[in-house]
């Protein structure tokens, strides 16, 4: 897993739970680097699962909520760090999400050939509704949920998101995004 995910995760913990929570989290969680992450590095994904599990115990907040929140946070961070990637033409969330696989991730791969990225494919799209399929062996659909929310927020859009597990283990999840008309 890319180091940037961890640096943004610790930034979020530092911002939302304070420096002491960060030290506690590092001390209480078994990680490959004892809490040392650089954005250019690559780290085992188990580290993040362990960290989120530990944070859930510390903060007494459900893991899903933590993932969703982190997702939102992550979108804004990634977008500002890597704004060169998404084509300028992308003017709304649907076109952004639609271009994830073909444009954004393909560019990410060029820069980080060892990156393991989730796969998003558009199943349906019109003005008001979009159906996305999330595929990843990491089963981090909650993070994906949060990222979608972050995307909507970025474009200033509001939508209702329905989640449907296409596989029980969560490796394949269907997102149905319906824009809240009238508010746009």
């Amino acid at each position: 897993m890319k180091g940037i995910i961890f640096t943004h995760f610790f930034e979020m913990v530092e911002t939302e739970f304070g420096d002491e929570t960060v030290e506690i989290l590092i001390d209480s969680t078994e990680t490959s680097t004892k809490g040392v992450y650089t954005s250019a590095g690559n780290y085992p994904p188990q580290d993040i699962f362990n960290l989120v599990t530990s944070l859930s115990q510390i903060s007494q907040l459900p893991q899903a909520a933590l993932y969703r929140h982190f997702g939102k946070y992550l979108f804004a961070g990634l977008y500002s760090n890597y704004s060169i990637f998404p084509p300028k033409a992308l003017k709304n969330s649907f076109s952004f999400l639609d271009s994830l696989n073909d444009y954004i991730h393909s560019d990410v791969y060029k820069l980080y050939p060892d990156a393991e990225l989730p796969h998003f494919s558009t199943q349906y799209r019109d003005e008001q509704k979009m159906v996305l399929v999330y595929q990843s062996n990491r089963r981090m659909s909650d993070l994906a949920f949060g990222l979608i929310e972050g995307c909507l927020a970025h474009f200033g859009e509001k939508a209702s998101i329905e989640v449907e597990f296409l596989k029980e283990d969560g490796s394949e999840v269907l997102f149905t995004i319906k824009l809240n008309s009238g508010e746009n």
């Binding site: 420096d19 960060v22 040392v36 650089t38």
Partner: protein
């Protein structure tokens, strides 16, 4: 945890993270370096590969270009809107245009106008529907506007989903298309031919299956099936099915026997039950020794057969006619070779037909002198003109035969001249007859000429002596005579009068018939004249014991203008006739004045006799010359038989008619009515009784008598002596002119016909002797006949009066007195106009030509005499050689020469001659005309040579 601990831990992690990041960066930089190195290597490889690929591409392109340029098909690229962007050289060759011209041009410019729409539509559709490749055949316009057929494949070329151009491949398929069209045309024609053939056709294959039949076949055999439905039927079964229609059963059995197939073409005439005649052509079909089937060809030749029979019959008929005619027929082809000789011609020529066939008819049968003429004939014939001509044929035996040939061209059915037929009629007998007739005619003409000469001689040889007798008798009667002498003398006078009358009759009738008689009007007492004549006959009539009644109306006793000579003759002839033919009974003359005005009177004279009369049927004949009413009459009554004829002519000369009424055995009545002009002058003129009164006035005269006849001299001299007139006598013109040079005369009595110099010439010469005192002396012409032209000529040459022989002393006295009383300026005729030339020359023509220039005329005559004989000899030669064309030219050339010398009238014949020569067909006519022409030339030369001699002597 305190703040410092937190910061230390955080710092420791940050340091650690920085080291990790630096390590990562180091790794990345190395990675980058190696990647870069690898990239550089890759780049170098790429350039090499590019060069390699480029070279390969170039080779490929060159090959491709070569292929395009050397292709036998037109290869081109064209923009979607139809403009050529690239085209290979073959196109340039095919269209005979520069490639640079073709590139940029629009393809439709090349398409044949008739196919524009089709071609354009095709490619529009291809583009609209995006059909990758199409194929189309159409003609384009090649050099000189000829059509070139192309088979064209067009492929659309797209780039990024867009049509950018079209690639074309076109092959010249003109030969194929032409071949196809020809084949198609041939097929159509063949079909049409078959359909329209007047013969029934059936073609079967080697399995006897009908593969083709036409309408006519079905018609001929009355087959119900449509001819198209005969296809695939068994031909032999079909033949067997129509077997019953043949008149001769089994006619075709042999031909449909499968065991022994016919290999030869067979032609056969077959008859159908219906009477039709068919001509069968049975043709086995082979190709490279392989038998492929048979063709049956049935032609209905019924009409042809029938007409052949008709023609044969007709030919036999005409042949029969021709053979039975006296005409020999000979047919020759265009080259003149005998193609057929009919029996009669063979008999005529002595050859058999076999001997004549394929011989040159002209060479074999015609004498050399006719061959050229015949060739000309043949030429004329080719132009379609028939001709008739007489030639001699040489028979096989070498004898010559005269034949009349009528040659006519004949033509084949397309109107081309293919030969001639000559119809020969044997003229040998006819020619003989013609020759004999010609001889007889010649003799008759000679006899007639002799008669003419005789009559002419009578004039001079007989009349002159009689004249003398009569004259002398008059002189003698003036002397002292006993009663007995006087009676004898009266008898001499009477008989010589009769003799003179006889001769005069003969001469007069000649003159009258020649139309040369004219009335010579003088004053006379009509009643007296009738009385004198009646009295003259009274003696003869009364002598026969016949009663003679004379009645003359007193009103007729007046002076009128009339010709006493003719009136005397009329009365004497009719009265003489009456006296001659009346034996008993009476004769009467009844003269009556019918009408008398201030200026004219009309007298009717009726002479009646009780003679033998004339039969009705003879009545019209009595006025004919030498024709008395029957030979018996002539024998019994004698005489010339001219009397009534002369009387009739003389009455007619008075614009009157001599009527005759007669009953045979009872008698005859002659009557006529004549108008006279009255004379009002008192008796100052000369009368028959005035002689003695004027005689005294003539005493002092000196007269020259020019007369060659001694007896006439004697007579005239005695008369002049009696009138106490002085005279001198000259024997001819020359002597006279000599005397006239020395002596002076008051009058000349001039005979016309004299030796040395005649009266005309003497007169002209004298009149032109301007210094001679005698040049104006009055001249009296003494003419031998009353011929008008002689008298006229005499006056025209400058003589003043004339006396017709015989003349009485009174007449001499009278004319002398007249000459002395009415002195007139004599006519002076310049010698160069009239008399200098031969009387046969046309004076007017000469005058017109030379306007009095005698010397010029003399020169021309000389030239004429020297050139004409030569020219004529050339003409004769041309005639001998039968060169009509040259002859015509020569004759034409001769013509104007005759006009020049005043003999133009002789050339009237030349025109006919020229025309005949131009046609060149009528040989007989040509020869006749040439004969006449030759006579004229000889005559003309005779005259002109005389004329030239004459010129030489006198000028």
């Amino acid at each position: 945890m305190d703040e410092i601990t937190l910061l230390k831990r955080k710092l420791e992690r940050e340091k650690q993270a920085r080291k990790d990041a630096e390590r990562l960066l180091e790794e990345k930089a190395l990675q980058l370096y190696f990647a870069n190195e690898k990239l550089r290597e890759l780049n170098t490889g790429l350039e090499k590969q590019l060069a390699l690929k480029s070279s390969a591409l170039k080779t490929h392109q060159d090959r491709y270009q070569g292929l395009v340029e050397n292709a036998e098909d037109i290869i081109f690229w064209i923009t979607p809107d139809g403009f050529f962007t690239q085209i290979n050289p073959i196109a340039a060759r095919i269209f005979d245009k520069e490639i640079s011209t073709l590139v940029g041009s629009h393809y439709l410019e090349l398409v044949h106008p008739d196919y524009l729409e089709r071609v354009q539509g095709m490619y529009q559709r291809q583009i609209e529907r995006r059909i990758p490749t199409t194929y189309l055949e159409f003609p384009v316009i090649g050099p000189n506007g000829q059509s070139i057929w192309l088979g064209q494949r067009i492929t659309l070329i797209f780039k990024e989903g867009k049509l950018v151009e079209l690639a074309g491949l076109a092959r010249n398929i003109t030969h194929r298309v032409n071949a196809e069209q020809k084949l198609s045309l041939l097929n159509t024609r063949f079909k049409a031919l078959l359909e329209n053939m007047q013969a029934g056709i059936l073609v079967e294959d080697e399995n006897q299956k009908v593969i083709l039949a036409n309408q006519k076949f079905s018609e001929i055999f009355d087959i119900f099936l449509n001819y198209n439905n005969l296809t695939n039927k068994n031909a032999h079964e079909l033949m067997r099915a129509i077997e019953g229609q043949w008149l001769e059963k089994g006619a075709l059995t042999e031909l449909i026997n499968p065991d022994s197939p016919q290999k030869e073409v067979i032609q056969k005439e077959l008859r159908l039950n219906t009477g039709q005649i068919l001509l069968l052509n049975f043709i086995p079909i082979y190709q490279d020794q392989k038998w492929l089937g048979k063709l049956w060809y049935f032609e209905d030749i019924t009409d042809r057969k029938n007409s052949e029979i008709r023609i044969r019959r007709s030919e036999e008929k005409y042949r029969g006619i021709m053979e039975n005619m006296e005409l020999g027929l000979l047919e020759v082809d265009k080259a003149g070779m005998v193609t057929r000789a009919y029996q009669r011609f063979c008999a005529m020529s002595g050859y058999t037909e076999e001997e004549l066939l394929n011989q040159d008819a002209t060479q074999l049968l015609l004498p050399v002198e006719y061959q050229e003429m015949m060739e000309r004939q043949n030429k004329t014939r080719k132009s379609g003109q028939p001709g008739v001509y007489e030639v001699e044929l040489i028979t096989k035996g070498g004898k010559r035969k005269w034949v009349l040939i009528s040659g006519a061209p004949f033509y084949d059915e397309s109107g081309d001249f293919i030969g001639s037929i000559g119809i020969h009629y044997d003229l040998t007998e006819f020619k003989k007859l013609q020759y004999e007739l010609e001889e007889a005619r010649h003799e008759a003409e000679n006899a007639r000429d002799a008669e003419k000469d005789f009559l002419a001689n009578m004039s001079h040889e007989v009349r002159n002596p009689i004249n003398t007798i009569v004259g002398m008798t008059y002189l003698l009667l003036d002397t002292e005579l006993t009663a007995e002498q006087r009676r004898y003398l009266q008898n001499i006078k009477y008989t010589s009068d009769i003799l003179l009358a006889l001769v005069s009759d003969i001469l007069d009738i000649t003159k009258i018939t020649q139309g040369k008689m004219e009335l010579e009007l003088r004053e006379l007492n009509l009643g007296e004249l009738i009385n004198v004549n009646a009295q003259a006959m009274a003696f003869r009539i009364k002598e026969k014991g016949i009663h003679f009644d004379i009645y003359v109306d007193r009103l007729l006793n007046t002076r009128v203008m009339g010709d006493s000579t003719f009136l005397n003759q009329i009365l004497l002839n009719i009265l003489g006739n009456a006296a001659k033919f009346t034996e008993k009974g009476s004769i009467s003359i009844h003269a009556q004045c019918l009408n008398k005005t201030k200026d004219t009177l009309r007298a009717k004279i009726i002479i009646t006799d009780t003679g033998i009369g004339i039969a009705d049927d003879k009545l019209p004949l009595i006025f004919e010359r030498f024709n008395q009413a029957g030979k018996a009459t002539k024998h019994k009554y004698g005489g010339t038989g001219l009397g009534l004829n002369i009387a009739k002519k003389l009455v007619e000369l008075h614009n009157a008619e001599l009527n005759v009424q007669s009953t045979e055995g009872k008698g005859t009545v002659f009557s006529f009515e004549i108008d006279f002009n009255l004379v009002h002058r008192s008796e100052t003129g000369l009368s028959q009784t005035a002689g003695p009164k004027i005689a005294s006035r003539l005493h002092a005269l000196n007269v020259l008598v020019v007369e060659d006849n001694v007896l006439n001299q004697e007579y005239i001299e005695r008369v002049l002596e009696r009138l106490h007139i002085r005279f001198r006598t000259a024997n001819n013109g020359k002597e006279a002119l000599k005397i006239l040079e020395t002596d002076r005369f008051d009058l000349i009595l001039m005979d016309i016909r004299m030796p040395e110099m005649d009266g005309y010439e003497t007169t002209i010469r004298l009149r032109n002797m301007h210094h001679n005192p005698n040049s104006q002396v009055p001249i009296v012409a003494l003419t031998a006949s009353a011929l008008l032209d002689e008298k006229e000529k005499a006056l025209n040459t400058g003589m003043n009066y004339h006396l017709t022989k015989p003349f009485t002393p009174d007449q001499i006295e009278k004319v002398i007195a007249q000459a002395m009383e009415n002195r007139v300026e004599p006519l002076v005729v310049p010698p160069d106009v009239h008399t200098l030339w031969h009387p046969e020359l046309n004076a007017e023509e000469i005058e017109e030509m030379f306007a009095g220039d005698v010397e010029h005329f003399q020169v021309i005559i000389g030239i004429f005499n020297r050139t004409i004989p030569e020219d004529f000899a050339t003409l004769e030669l041309a005639m001998k050689e039968r060169d009509w064309e040259s002859a015509r030219g020569l004759a034409h050339k001769l013509k104007p020469s005759f006009q020049m010398v005043g003999l133009g009238y002789m050339t009237s014949n030349i025109q006919d001659f020229e025309q005949a020569l131009e046609l060149g067909t009528d040989q007989v006519l040509i020869q006749q005309l040439f004969y006449v022409f030759a006579q004229n030339v000889h005559k003309a030369l005779h005259i002109t040579v005389q004329q030239e001699d004459y010129f030489r002597q006198t000028i």
